[in-house]
């Protein structure tokens, strides 16, 4: 911290004053760093010994940070650390919210993970409530859920499953790593008093289609809006 010598005329006789100034700089640095708001100069002064000039300390700190990636800047009579203007491209100006999944979306996602391949009717059967179209749309948009194919039953309902991005995001190596009943109980997530017949399925982990599934046809894809309708030129 060679810069400290530049602050004032501190001769060799002022070693104690220098140490006191250095400590004051550390204190101001930590307080301004940890504060969520710019810190009033008066508040900083109150935290320093009476014989230390807060302005001297702030000037010294500002000088030390002058050429750095972060600067100590004055905002009115307050002080804050700010990213150096020429590096502002590294940070967003305004916060861009990361979207949290709704409770319903989390439930549907979990059911798809455990019960895949699963149809929308089956999801609703498990949850006991109707699943809004929007919930599945959000999950598809998140990239964690995909349409796998169609169930070979009347109506040929679409089956849903999870994606690689799902495993990646949730830190799972494979679907088989999802905890079973015993582990859910053990971790306190399931009541130990759950009925004996309660089971949690072992997820169907195969990328291949299940026996009762069939792949989408081009027509299906068009219907689902996944493929632009073929033009008349064909």
């Amino acid at each position: 911290m060679a810069e400290i010598y530049a602050l004032g005329n501190i001769g060799p006789s002022g070693a104690a004053a220098e140490a006191s100034l250095r400590e004051a700089m550390r204190i101001v640095e930590a307080i301004v760093f940890a504060s969520a708001e710019p810190v009033p100069e008066s508040l900083l002064a109150a935290r320093l010994p009476a014989d230390v000039s807060v302005r001297l300390v702030l000037d010294g700190l500002a000088a030390r940070y002058a050429g750095c990636g972060v600067n100590l800047t004055r905002v009115g009579d307050c002080w804050a650390f700010r990213t150096a203007p020429d590096l502002s491209f590294l940070v967003h100006d305004e916060k861009h919210e990361v979207r949290k999944l709704s409770r319903a979306a989390l439930e549907v996602l979990a059911i798809i993970a455990y019960h895949q391949p699963v149809t929308r009717a089956e999801i609703e059967d498990i949850r006991g409530v109707t699943t809004s179209k929007g919930t599945l749309d959000v999950l598809l948009e998140s990239g964690w859920v995909r349409m796998r194919g169609r169930r070979r039953t009347p109506g040929r309902p679409v089956t849903y499953g999870t994606t690689l991005a799902f495993l990646d995001h949730f830190g799972l190596e494979e679907l088989g790593d999802l905890p079973g009943v015993e582990e859910l109980k053990g971790a306190g997530l399931l009541s130990p008093r759950i009925p004996a017949g309660f089971t949690v399925p072992v997820p169907f982990a195969d990328d291949e289609l299940a026996e009762d599934e069939e792949p989408f046809t081009d027509n299906d894809l068009e219907d689902l809006g996944l493929l632009a309708p073929k033009g008349g030129e064909e």
Binding site: L101, S142, E173, L189
Partner: protein, 282 residues
């Protein structure tokens, strides 16, 4: 030294306390296990009171103290949890192995081995207690050390637009499945020694039964009131068989009505520490 002998001899023959039993039934309980987290915790407290390093502890004295404690509890008709009683049975068995010279058959563990195993468990538990204390006294984020109070969002950070943790996911799943599952559950009145109790406790004790151990005789003495013995024996035996079927335990009985020996099964595949490659980082 003679006083030590006296007190130990006394402990073996009769309760070393002379408080009248009838009064105890009316007065507040004299024995309190509320502060202890199970028998091992109680043993550790007793061991610390020997004021010696855990690896030089007198296991026999420790066992005596524990057994005296259990006897005392039974005297005042305090219902002790089953695992306290199983530990008592185990310690009574261990003591018999330590004090009665055994023919070197090689099949059964020596008393010294069993004592070392117990001392190891106590020492390991104590080490973890100390570690927890040291951990919690470190400079902690948000208490002693602080992060930037006014963070900016980084442009470079590649985040998925949606955020959820595995914990969120599992909580959502477990709670909604639970909601949907039939909730008409009648909770069976708890016996001291139900089948699931038996199973849990035996499972926990398998680690100690590295070699043939005859526990049943001791279980009988400590497990429950005489009228419950048949059911206690039955459920612990049933639990034993269940564990045998799962390959976690072996049982042996030389002739009919002879003591039943059990030990942890040690298949070659039993690879402690052989984890799947861990997923996720950090």
């Amino acid at each position: 030294m003679s006083s030590a002998l006296d007190s130990n001899a006394r402990a073996a023959m009769e309760p070393p306390w002379d408080a009248p039993v009838r009064e105890a039934a009316e007065s507040p309980l004299h024995v309190d296990v509320d502060g202890f987290e199970g028998p091992l915790d109680l043993l550790l407290h007793l061991a610390r009171h020997q004021r010696v390093d855990l690896s030089r502890i007198s296991i026999v004295a420790l066992a005596d103290q524990y057994l005296a404690f259990v006897d005392r509890a039974r005297l005042v008709r305090l219902e002790l949890a089953a695992d306290y009683l199983v530990m008592a049975a185990w310690l009574a068995y261990l003591k018999s192995r330590l004090l009665i010279p055994q023919p070197a058959k090689g099949e059964e563990p020596t008393g010294e081995e069993m004592a070392a195993q117990l001392a190891f468990r106590l020492k390991r538990l104590e080490a973890m207690r100390d570690a927890a204390t040291r951990l919690v006294n470190r400079n902690r984020l948000g208490r002693d050390v602080f992060a930037r109070g006014a963070p900016d969002e980084l442009v470079v950070e590649k985040r998925s637009e949606f955020q959820a943790s595995l914990y969120d996911l599992l909580t959502a799943y477990a709670s909604q499945r639970q909601r949907q599952s039939v909730t008409a559950v009648t909770i069976a009145s708890r016996r001291v020694w139900s089948l699931s109790d038996a199973r849990t406790i035996l499972t926990r004790m398998i680690g100690e039964m590295a070699d043939w151990t005859a526990l049943d005789a001791f279980l009988l003495r400590y497990l429950s009131r005489p009228e419950d013995r048949a059911s206690a024996m039955a459920s612990s035996f049933a639990a034993t068989l269940e564990l045998v079927r799962e390959g976690r335990l072996e049982v042996r009985q030389d002739v009919a009505f002879a003591p039943i020996y059990m030990r942890r099964s040690t298949p070659a595949a039993d690879a402690h520490g052989a984890d799947e490659p861990s997923f996720g980082k950090g």
